[in-house]
Symmetry: C2
Subunit: 141 residues, 2 copies
DNA sequence: CTATCTATAATACTTTATAGTACAGTTAAC
DNA sequence: GTTAACTGTACTATAAAGTATTATAGATAG
């Protein structure tokens, strides 16, 4: 899966740890190890869907718009990566029974698979991620 | 997901429809719409893991080595695409709490997610794919 | 009115996926 | 035993996708 998902989760988790105050795209980019412009694209997407708010100008930045329990991994997956588990299908030979129908059959199966995946990802909220990160940190000390 | 999965499934389904006789890589490549060399790489993988057998020389080709119910989508996913649903993680900043631990946390979650996906994919055998293809064909007539 | 931010378009670069070429090895049939 | 039809695989070339970078415009606080 592409890294936009990771960057979105990373951003949200970071914002979750800075409640009530603005965090700049530069700070997030630095933490995530990518270019600020890249993270802003991801942040723009999160903003567009109401997960975060932003403010321009001095003292501006990004901040969580919802409760930490109101956002889960499935929400973000849908936003950044929907369809990502669909196996790529080269344009196959329409004259062949298999070639003509394989794409449609696999597509239907993997739509089901993605929904199934969704049920799993829904169990992880940003709140839980924050807890897991903290737990992981403790294990390292 | 990469198209090796699709090519492998495509190949197996085609072989399933040619029981008891050899099918050449050229025929499979033609049906799948890719270069014969490419399909041979996929077929080599399937052979290595005992799903198909091959024979060189005139009249040679590939043939199913197992029962059609003994192979399912999860088997092939593991072979061609294991880890594919793991979101890519850029090397993040180790000095930041989030950066330092996000990768490990997400990796663990998506390992669980992939197992969960496996439970779903296990329900589809090559036999069932053949049936679905036939059904799809009938719907088009 | 300047420094600090977001927003976004456009371009360059890097990595990955795929196609294609070339050639060696195997086998059946003539 | 030579030829045509195959598999097997290393290597190179091309296309596509992902990512970084530059440039520039607009907003806001002090």
């Amino acid at each position: 899966m592409n890294s936009d998902f990771t960057l979105a989760i990373h951003s949200l988790t970071l914002l979750a740890l800075q409640p009530g105050r603005m965090t700049t795209s530069d700070a997030i980019a630095d933490s995530a190890g990518v270019h600020p412009v890249r993270i802003r694209k991801v942040l723009a997407l999160l903003k567009k869907h109401g997960f975060i708010k932003s403010k321009e100008g001095t003292g501006g930045g990004f901040i969580f718009a919802l409760g930490l329990n109101e956002v889960n991994l499935w929400d973000i997956y849908k936003l950044t990566s929907e369809g990502a588990i669909q196996p790529k299908c080269p344009d196959s030979n329409e004259k062949c029974v298999v070639g003509a129908h394989m794409q449609k059959v696999l597509f239907a199966i993997f739509q089901g698979a993605e929904e199934h995946l969704g049920e799993f990802l829904k169990h992880y909220s940003i709140k839980q991620l924050v807890d897991l990160i903290k737990q992981e940190k403790e294990n390292c000390e």
